[in-house]
């Protein structure tokens, strides 16, 4: 028998966990929506970020968030280099799947070579605990991920609405050729988007180290869900991806509480199908 507090708890944790799904999907959504690059390599790169966080905590004895000082700049540069490659060889959306899947295999194998396939668990301290309010609990790590996601969405909205870069991004995602006629330099903008998308991947990957024991292939567990969130949210829509993540997280959590955890994927993906039938463009908030 499920109680009211059980339902409220599932809504709460579903929102927070869904926020993390949204955060994880931001990079893919930007890359796919704006650049027409479906970048499968984001998943092992997220795990690489987790290993950087793990090393920061266990070898250097520092706070996991310090690892972002290493991972964000290096991921930004990596994103730019990847985009340079995509631009040079004119990689279109379909070939991007193949090229980045190959990259996924390469990065994952590099992780196995460097760290072995062994399970790693980072000592996360307070981030692994909860705040208790009466019978409800609020997991701190998930709460932090949620608010970081919110902050990124707000910054993105501001950039999209208030800056020339945002205007150029909107123009490119609407019509790349037409935007070029109006003087938008696609190649340069694409480098920035590629770099920034990888920064989002670095941030999402940090939380893999905080939430889970992990191995080099941990990122693959998220592929289905993150693709669903990205499509559901509307390609290129950071706000849409984040909200889609929350909806998916809540759907999974409530289904698990009311029915059974094994129903979670069914309910979540059924919801995705219904929304795509009703509104094929997804949520598309920009």
């Amino acid at each position: 028998m499920v109680t009211l507090s059980g339902v409220i708890q599932s809504l709460l944790t579903g929102t927070l966990v869904g926020g993390y799904y949204g955060l994880f999907a931001l990079g893919l959504s930007m890359s796919w929506g704006v650049l027409d690059i479906i970048n499968m390599s984001y998943f092992p790169f997220a795990v690489l970020s987790a290993y950087i966080a793990y090393a920061t905590m266990t070898i250097m004895g520092l706070d996991p968030f310090i690892s972002l000082l290493f991972s964000i700049p290096s991921f930004f540069i990596t994103g730019i280099l990847m985009q340079l490659f995509f631009n040079k060889f004119r990689i279109d959306i379909f070939r991007s799947l193949i090229v980045t899947f190959a990259l996924l295999v390469v990065v994952e194998n590099a992780l196995v070579y460097t760290w072995t396939a062994d399970v790693r668990r980072a000592p996360v301290g307070l981030l692994g605990s909860s705040i208790f309010i009466d019978s409800l609990y609020v997991p701190i790590g998930e709460l932090v991920a949620f608010f970081i996601g919110v902050a990124i969405v707000i910054i993105n909205i501001a950039i999209f609405k208030k800056t020339r870069l945002g205007l150029a991004l909107r123009a490119i995602s609407e019509n790349r050729e037409a935007s070029a006629m109006w003087g938008v330099n696609y190649s340069r903008i694409a480098l920035i988007v590629g770099g920034v998308s990888m920064c989002y991947v670095a941030i999402a990957g940090l939380f893999i180290a905080i939430f889970f024991p992990f191995t080099p292939s941990q990122g693959n567990l998220f592929i289905g869900r993150i693709f669903a969130v990205t499509i559901f949210g509307g390609l290129g829509s950071v706000t849409g991806a984040f909200i889609a993540g929350i909806i998916l997280g809540v759907a999974e959590s409530v289904a698990a509480t009311l029915f059974a955890p094994s129903w979670s994927p069914l309910v979540a993906f059924l919801l995705l199908l219904i929304i795509l039938v009703v509104k094929p463009s997804g949520l598309t908030w920009r």
Binding site: V2, T3, S5, G6, Q9, S10, T13, G14, V17, V105, E108, N109, V112, W115, T116, A117, D118, V119, R120, R121, P123, G128, S129, S130, F132, Y137, P139, E142, F211, F212, P213, T215, P216, S217, N220, L221, F222, G249, E252, S253, A256, T257, A260, P261, S262, S264, P265
Partner: protein
């Protein structure tokens, strides 16, 4: 010895001359290439006297002349491709015996790789031991291992390739139940003796020559929960009043979990719920929330690898820790990484690195060498335990089968195993029951003071240990 080497060298020189003569007859220019090829071939293959027929196509470039045509300077090259057949008899001393090759796959990448690396190291030690003790029938033993990438669709074609193209002498199973199940029809098709180490569906292992090194027993679904509740009753002195079964959709976990309600009922334990979750679940908070609502005294989890660690962490976040928590096949390193939160987790074990297991000399050899190698490989959890132990025992069984039957013939080995008892690092194993399963030899282990030890039954428990229940960490009731 020196004289024999000289004889062999002389034999090689004569053979080369013969080869050169034959090649010259085939054509002067082409012959140059043939001599080089054959010289290398014979040098690498000097063994007993034999006749070899080699047919190969040689591409030879002739010319390189520069001519002037119509005012332009052109470099002309002529290419000749000619098949040449040469028959030569090679004589010499007998070299090292041809190795016996054992082929199989392991998940070196992908979702199962964390345990795959453990099996890889244990197998390496097992093969080393076999070779140190005379190999198979006087021949050295090698393994040919392909990475199945934790992808079940790779298993049948890779095993087909091992048997038909690589023509390995023997095969063993890959790692993990679904993969072992996927290779079994291939083994059956070619009538290969098929020994495997981590299979949890004994009722489906119907192939005549299938043998499990993990002695789960044929009725694990009943025998394992029975042993668990007996341990709680007799070793801890207390049974839980209620429990919840939480299991994933892995067929082995589903099979074992399916027997729990019936057995629990026979011990007077109320089963409050059976919660099923998808394999690959990462978010365990909904399950933790549900358990917090139900407040069972005991959680029976049918999970594997990281599930137990993830559920324990989620339970801690939810503010509920049950009095008892058992699992099936956790990644021990991940549980130990939880620190105090991992303490008290109960699981299955066939081998741990303590007495009575280490009273066996070969078990000590295995522990010493495995742990050294695992540390060199950089494994965070490097201690010998069930995962590595079953892998090592798999090769022990194969070794005894070959030596006992005196044959490399698969059916001979299989038939010998069915009739005999095999001594392994976790005791004597028999294969005389249904589907070649003997009695269950899987024991109750528990994380105590940062180490996994066997606590039940007394014959296999670490001396002086007992099952700790209820957990002092329990909270949220």
């Amino acid at each position: 010895m020196e004289e024999k080497k000289r004889e062999a060298a002389t034999a090689n020189r004569i053979t080369r001359r013969k080869a050169i003569s034959s090649a010259v007859a085939a054509g002067a220019v082409v012959g140059v290439g043939i001599v080089a090829g054959l010289g290398g071939y014979f040098a690498g293959a000097a063994s007993g006297g034999r006749a070899e027929t080699i047919t190969q196509k040689e591409t030879v470039t002739v010319g390189g002349q520069t001519v002037t045509v119509g005012g332009q300077t052109v470099t002309v090259t002529n290419t000749v491709t000619q098949p040449t057949t040469v028959t030569a008899t090679v004589t010499g001393t007998t070299g090292p015996a041809k190795p016996v090759v054992i082929g199989y796959t392991l998940p070196k990448t992908g979702g199962f790789a964390a345990n795959g690396v453990i099996h890889d190291i244990a197998d390496e030690i097992a093969i080393r031991r076999i070779n140190e003790t005379g190999g198979f029938l006087g021949r050295p033993v090698e393994r040919l291992v392909y990475d199945d990438r934790s992808d079940i669709s790779q298993i049948p074609p890779l095993y087909e390739r091992l048997i038909t193209q690589d023509q390995v002498d023997l095969i063993v199973g890959p790692y993990a139940t679904p993969f072992i199940a996927a290779a079994m029809p291939v083994a059956e098709k070619y009538r290969k003796v098929y020994i495997f180490d981590s299979y949890t569906l004994p009722k489906q292992a119907t192939y005549e020559f299938a043998f499990s090194s993990w002695a789960t027993g044929y009725n694990t679904d009943i025998e394992w929960p029975t042993l668990l509740f007996e341990a709680l009753q007799n070793s801890a002195g207390k049974l839980p009043k209620s429990l919840v079964v939480v299991h994933n959709t892995h067929p082995g976990a589903t099979f074992v979990a399916s027997g729990v309600p019936k057995v629990a009922d026979s011990f007077g334990i109320e089963v409050l719920d059976v919660i099923r979750y998808e394999l690959g679940t990462t978010d365990f908070l909904p399950i933790a929330t549900r358990l917090k609502e139900l407040k069972p005294e005991f959680v029976f989890q049918g999970g594997l690898v990281l599930d137990e660690s993830n559920l324990k962490k989620a339970l801690d976040k939810a503010g509920f820790i049950p009095y008892g928590h058992s699992s099936l096949w956790p990644a021990v390193g991940a549980v130990l990484g939880l620190g105090p939160l991992g303490e008290g987790l109960i699981s299955q074990s066939v081998f741990e690195r303590h007495i009575p297991f280490t009273q066996d000399a070969e078990a000590r050899y295995f522990v010493r060498n495995y742990e050294k190698r695992a540390q060199e490989a950089g494994l965070a959890y490097w201690k010998a335990d069930t995962q590595s132990g079953t892998s090592y025992a798999m090769f022990q069984i194969l070794r005894e089968g070959v030596r006992g039957s005196g044959s490399l013939n698969d059916e001979d080995i299989g038939n010998w195993l069915k009739r005999n008892t095999v001594d392994t690092i976790f005791g004597e194993l028999r294969f005389d029951g249904p589907n070649n399963y003997g009695p269950m030899k899987t024991w109750i282990a528990q994380i105590q003071n940062g180490e996994q030890i066997v606590v039940w039954p007394p014959d296999y428990a670490k001396p002086g240990s007992k099952l700790l229940y209820p957990s002092p960490l329990a909270k949220g009731y």
